[in-house]
């Protein structure tokens, strides 16, 4: 802490370089320090709420012991290996569900964002409010509402049953029998619903920035509306696609509320495992190790993804 607040010692004002510019005053000390003072609140916030917890977490993950005897740092790195080998199915499931939810969000969100950006006209603001409106209610309440929507005797399930969609999803392993609740489909639906606005907003922002005259220019240069979308609109919206998928995938991969409320023991995600380890089993080292593995895995995937998407090449 102390080193940070004092951190950047300004170099002593250089002695006037030469008699050639004798009237030139050395820059005022206070003015030069201003940027660092402005940085201070943000840095403090980061230290208290990010750096310190991370260090604490890291030290927890290499402790051994029990709740009764207390935990001590023993540099027991095997916790990581044990955690991974025991819970890899939940890791894999988290990635799969998060990927499915992200793809669904993109498929559902892109047309809506496109509509708001280019076609909504005076309805634009109203639709934007509707997109954000769910945030006025608690995340938990909204997820609980899906329990009612997907209830076994509810209209959605009976409709899906009538049109025999459930037979197909059952065969695919997404649902089981006549139920939707407590199946992978329900969890993915919940994740998709909860993170959809995080997809729509960045997509809308990058689509809205596209000059409509580019559409006209493409049409003028013999591109059909579909080609215009493929060659002009979509490539230009890539920054939105990348940030939207990241903003959806990252929280979805670590989520446990949807799996908890809409899933079953067979749909537990890594978030549920961590939550159980911390709050029920009280095995803090394993929980901390799992958190770190999740973080490392997401960082790795995101890095590969951004490299592949190559958004730095865009405007």
């Amino acid at each position: 802490m102390a080193t940070l607040t004092e951190a950047p010692p300004p170099p002593p004002p250089a002695s006037p370089p030469a008699p050639s510019a004798p009237e030139k005053k050395p820059p005022r000390k206070r003015g030069r320090l201003t940027p660092y003072w402005l940085l201070l609140p943000g840095l403090l916030w980061l230290v208290v709420f990010f750096a310190l917890p991370m260090i604490y977490q890291a030290s927890t993950s290499v402790q051994t012991g029990s709740l009764e005897e207390g935990y001590k740092v023993t540099w027991h790195l095997a916790t990581y290996w044990d955690a991974l080998s025991e819970y890899w199915p939940q890791f894999l499931r988290s990635v799969l569900y998060a990927t499915a939810a992200t793809v669904l969000c993109l498929v559902l969100g892109y047309p809506l964002a496109y509509l708001i950006a280019f076609r909504a006209g005076r309805w634009r603001n109203l639709i934007m409010v509707l997109v954000i409106a769910p945030f006025f209610t608690s995340f938990l309440i909204r997820t609980l509402a899906w329990k009612t929507i997907l209830a076994d005797s509810g209209p959605v399930v009976s409709f899906l049953n009538t049109v025999h969609v459930l037979d197909v999803t059952d065969w695919l392993g997404w649902t089981s029998g006549d139920r939707v609740l407590a199946t992978p489909l329900a969890v993915v639906c919940g994740l998709t619903y909860n993170f959809l606005p995080f997809m729509i907003l960045p997509l809308y922002t990058s689509l809205e920035r596209i000059d409509v005259r580019l559409h006209e220019a493409a049409g003028d240069l013999y591109a059909t509306p579909l080609t215009t979308f493929r060659k002009v609109t979509f490539p230009l919206s890539m920054p939105g696609v990348v940030s939207g998928t990241l903003l959806t995938f990252i929280p979805a991969a670590g989520d446990y509320v949807n799996a908890e409320l809409l899933g079953s023991t067979d749909t537990r995600m890594i978030g549920n495992v961590i939550q159980t380890q911390f709050l029920r089993v009280l095995d803090y080292p394993t929980a901390a190790a799992l958190s770190f593995i999740l973080m490392a895995a997401i960082l790795l995937m995101v890095t590969l993804y951004i490299r592949r998407a190559g958004t730095e090449d865009l405007v």
């Binding site: 220019a217 049409g219 591109a223 865009l314």
Partner: protein
């Protein structure tokens, strides 16, 4: 230029309304193959809407668009053999210059585009910039890319929507000549929309002056300048001095008019208004056609010239010429541009002068019009 008519643009009764607002009143217009045609007018006069209807970017409320013998009214833009140079260029920011220029060729399924694109970039002198992105180029270079991107498709008609509006004056002059050179070289019909009357006059073979959704007058630049038919054209294209006068008598091919205390002669052929004895006519004359003589030398002015007396209100020395504003009985601000050949030192503000000009430089307009039409529009540009 050829006698082939496949590059003719024929607009018949074409009009555009937005709700209760009429952007373009139904108009008929034919642009012959290979000509450089300018639509000139102030902003909001309907010139860009007309151009966009030719491109297919705007659906006409009435009328038809023909390219050559083909009725293209119902065709979407990507099926029309025309290309547009947009006002803000609308270059694709995610593609480099090469791909921007190749865009149209690729969309038509042409595989080997390299040679064509390189030749086209050579034509607009951008061969070195092929792999740069549009934002790395200057305004003038972007403008040339926009022209290359359109021209490479060999359209039957090239539409230019204020293509030079974003450039500074010097570059604009340079690009005007450049565009004119390219047009002569490729022989494609150019339809050019502009609010800059000088640009329209230097570049185009034919100019259509538009005002409030209507074509006011159509003709060659010289014709429009020398024989304006409406006060709008007279004021919008250059400057005109307009005097309210009353028809006195007819004398052969000439009309004699009364204005203030004096008489003015106007050739009947140069009057676009009905002339009945006692009727009102607006008499116009361009500032550079007028000679200025000090009142003391009034006797030396040859017979047969139109004369008006006045007093110099102020003068400004421009270099090649001196611009005088004369306060006269018939017109409060009479403008005169005198070439600086032999300057009379007595011609200073406050001096009494006689303005005189040859009757053949006089034109007559319908007095029912607004005498100031087109002045504000020009000032706003």
């Amino acid at each position: 230029m050829t006698t082939d008519s496949s590059g003719d643009v024929r607009l018949s009764g074409i009009g555009k309304t937005y709700g209760a607002f009429t952007a373009v009143h139904p108009l008929d217009l034919t642009v012959p193959q290979g000509s450089f045609f300018a639509l000139l007018g102030a902003s909001g006069c309907g010139k860009t809407t007309t151009l966009r209807m030719i491109a297919g970017l705007e659906e006409p409320s009435s009328g038809t668009v023909h390219l050559g013998d083909q009725d293209v009214t119902a065709l979407p833009p990507y099926k029309r053999p025309v290309n547009t140079v947009f006002q803000s260029y609308a270059l694709f920011p995610h593609l480099d210059i090469f791909e921007n220029v190749a865009f149209g060729l690729r969309r038509r399924g042409i595989k080997s585009v390299k040679k064509q694109v390189e030749d086209m970039l050579e034509l607009v002198q951008l061969g070195e910039q092929a792999r740069k992105k549009p934002h790395q180029l200057s305004g003038g270079q972007q403008q040339r890319v926009a022209v290359a991107r359109a021209l490479i498709n060999h359209p039957k008609v090239l539409l230019l929507d204020e293509p030079l509006g974003a450039l500074d004056l010097k570059l604009r002059r340079q690009m005007q000549l450049e565009l004119k050179r390219i047009q002569t070289e490729v022989g494609i019909t150019f339809v050019h929309v502009t609010h800059d009357q000088e640009e329209a006059m230097t570049m185009a073979d034919t100019v259509a002056v538009m005002n409030a959704g209507r074509v006011e007058q159509l003709g060659s630049p010289t014709d429009l300048y020398e024989n304006p038919q409406t006060t709008f054209v007279a004021n919008f294209l250059g400057t005109s001095n307009l005097i309210e006068a009353e028809v006195d008598t007819k004398n052969g091919d000439d009309i004699v008019l009364r204005a203030g205390g004096g008489k003015l002669v106007l050739p009947e052929a140069r009057c676009s208004a009905p002339t009945t004895a006692g009727g009102k006519v607006l008499v116009g004359v361009r500032p550079e056609k007028i000679s200025l003589t000090h009142a003391d030398d009034a006797g030396e002015i040859p017979e047969g010239r139109n004369r008006i007396t006045g007093r110099i209100a102020h003068s400004s020395f421009i270099g090649v010429s001196t611009q005088y504003v004369i306060d006269s009985q018939v017109c409060p601000e009479f403008e005169v541009y005198a070439q600086n050949i032999e300057r009379d030192p007595r011609l200073t503000p406050g001096a009494d002068v006689v303005l005189h000009w040859s009757p053949v430089h006089t034109f007559g307009l319908d007095a029912a019009q607004d005498i100031d039409a087109g002045i504000d529009e020009q000032a706003a540009v």
